[in-house]
């Protein structure tokens, strides 16, 4: 898959999920959703591809996910049934601290 870049967008090959990269790392990594490599938006994906049962917790719109070593962070911009993973390791959901509304 192409190198991750801040601002770059990817979609899942096996579910409706889409993400945007918030923090990228210099390393070559494999970003997967539902156990399958993520692809550039607009890429045709094969019908009938399945979410891997070990990567099936799903991602929620507006939630941010970080890699275990906290070097990569992505934002879910479309919800999906697959879970995100970096080099096979599941990403963790990051909490946004609730702040007072100021604007």
């Amino acid at each position: 898959m192409p190198k991750l870049k801040t601002g770059g967008r990817f979609k899942s090959a096996v579910c409706a999920g889409e993400i945007m990269v918030v923090t990228a790392s210099e390393d070559d990594v494999v970003l997967t959703c539902g156990g399958a490599d993520m692809v550039a938006p607009g890429t045709e994906v094969a019908d009938g591809a399945q979410v891997h049962p070990d990567h099936a917790v799903g991602i929620a719109m507006g939630k941010r996910y970080i890699s275990e070593d906290e070097t990569i962070e992505v934002l879910c911009v479309k919800a999906g049934d697959g879970s995100l993973a970096v080099n096979g390791q599941l990403m963790l959901q990051k909490d946004t601290k609730q702040l007072p509304k100021t604007d």
Partner: protein, 505 residues
């Protein structure tokens, strides 16, 4: 990374929710309507070959539409101050050509005649039938593209254009707003000028949280109160002078509470809030949470917040230091670091006054044509003076440039003003430095009396001497009926200074 993504997500998640309502004209865009309108106006901006989109008008539906359509078209959005003279506006427009200008109908002819300015009236911009060439495809995702150019209200010389890139604005929103966190019935009353960073931030925060924005184009306290009740507004942002007017108006109506039980949250910022105003406001709005926000154009809006709990803790604190936090601007947002430094760049400790430096992903610190003023480690010098207490609460002390240098000693106008304001007869105070043969600069104070109170100048001088030191005692003092503020509540210190200089000459 592009601010359009914020609208795309909102439009995908709650397409039929009302997004923006023009409080005067009553027109509304839902999230999906705003998204589709942005697509078609992006096409019009591109078709004109514009390199910037400028907006010169009061707040209306064209304001959020302009911001998002520019982002989709890939050109910076440039909101201009409609209170400037035609000459001043022309000078700014010439710096952003070729421009697609959206303005009030009475200004289309004058500015449309300029070279490389394509001017359309706001009504035409909002009329979907005049924009039949929607842009094909997605917006650019390069985080380094410029999203907004904001001319800062420079006090001297040419206004500077602060550069805010998509990465700054999106970082600010992602770190401070939870997506879709607003309940469906939430409504926000936005009355800050559309050419102010708080106006830009309000658009993005509301969209990302899914809140319905009610726009109040020309602020009056009466209209603010009416709209807040009519739309059962749940959240609002005001500058200190606006809150002072709202408090005055409610008091003049003889009410003991504002009768706005829906108003959960009232945030303020943009200038120094007089203690008497915030205390009265907390009584008039007993069910409302108050937050004080501090931020700058160059930092994509808010960097520090004094939240509702901190307000309540301060009011009920048994110690002087605890109560003083009510006039602080709170603590840094997550992802934002703040330091106080002295003239030589050394980092100062708790309680020491110096210049405020800030670092974080939302910090731009860049001006068009002048480059970045951020240092190698990412720190932006705000030119604001302040101090941080031992728990990280930031206190503002005015602009670093406002420091009075008297006989080699640096005096903070804010410190002297704070003491003057503790006197029961004083409603407002402004302290400036004026030229002095013996000392280089001398302290001059303009004070405003509370209604029915009489100012005893000698008593005020004695108070400053007791609380501070004799070097801080104003050498010149005048009683004014009011102090000059700009429309966002900033004290126009240079006007106070100029008036003293004229009198003294």
């Amino acid at each position: 990374m592009n601010v359009m993504m914020l609208l795309e997500m909102a439009s995908g998640a709650f397409p039929d929710r009302p997004a923006f309502t023009d409080g005067e004209r009553g027109l509304t865009y839902t999230y999906s309507e705003l998204f589709e309108a942005a697509r078609s106006r992006a096409g019009s901006i591109r078709a004109q070959g514009a390199s910037r989109m400028a907006k010169l008008d009061v707040s209306n539906l064209g304001t959020p539409l302009g911001l998002f359509a520019s982002a989709w078209a890939g050109v910076p959005y440039v909101p201009l101050n409609y209170r400037l003279t035609n000459e001043e506006i022309q000078a700014l427009l010439k710096r952003v050509t070729p421009a697609y200008l959206v303005t009030s109908s009475d200004r289309v002819d004058a500015f449309g005649a300029l070279d490389d300015v394509h001017a359309v009236a706001t009504e035409g911009f909002l009329d979907a039938s005049q924009h039949a060439m929607p842009v094909d495809g997605e917006w650019a995702m390069d985080p380094d593209e410029v999203a907004v150019l904001l001319f800062t209200s420079g006090t001297t010389g040419e206004p500077k254009a602060a550069v805010l890139r998509h990465k700054h604005l999106v970082s600010y929103i992602l770190s401070s707003v939870e997506f879709a966190s607003a309940p469906e019935e939430d409504a926000s009353l936005v009355c800050v000028p559309p050419y102010h960073i708080a106006g830009i931030a309000a658009i993005m925060s509301s969209v990302y949280s899914g809140r319905h924005v009610i726009q109040l184009p020309n602020f009056t306290a009466e209209r603010w109160i009416e709209l807040a009740r009519q739309h059962q507004v749940t959240t609002a942002f005001v500058v200190p002078t606006m809150l002072a007017r709202i408090v005055e108006t409610l008091e003049a109506q003889g009410v003991t509470t504002a009768d706005m039980p829906y108003l959960n949250s009232l945030a303020y910022g943009g200038g120094k809030m007089p203690l008497s105003v915030i205390e009265k406001a907390m009584t008039l709005f007993p069910q409302t949470d108050f937050s004080n926000a501090y931020g700058l154009t160059e930092t994509s809006s808010t960097i520090c917040v004094l939240g509702p709990d901190a307000h309540r803790d301060a009011v009920s604190s048994p110690t002087e230091a605890g109560r003083r936090r009510l006039v602080s601007v709170g603590q840094a947002l997550p992802g934002v670091e703040i330091e106080i430094r002295d003239d030589e760049g050394r980092v100062l400790g708790a309680g020491e006054r110096g210049e405020i430096y800030v670092r974080g992903e939302q910090v731009s610190g860049e001006y068009e044509g002048k480059g970045s003023v951020v240092d190698a480690d990412g720190w932006f010098p705000t030119r604001d003076a302040g101090s941080i207490d031992d728990e990280g609460f930031l206190f503002l002390e005015g602009r670093a440039d406002d420091v009075i240098v008297r006989g080699g000693e640096n005096l903070s106008p804010g410190e002297i003003e704070d003491v003057l304001l503790t006197h029961p007869a004083v409603a407002d105070a402004a302290v400036v430095g004026v030229p002095d043969e013996q000392w280089g600069e001398a302290v001059a104070a303009a004070v405003v009396a509370k209604a029915g109170a009489r100012i005893d100048e000698e008593a005020l001088k004695e108070l400053v001497k007791e609380q501070l030191r004799s070097s801080r005692v104003p050498a010149h003092m005048e009683v004014w009926s009011e102090l000059p503020y700009n429309e966002t509540g900033k004290l126009l210190r240079r006007m106070v200074k100029a008036s003293f200089e004229e009198t003294l000459n």
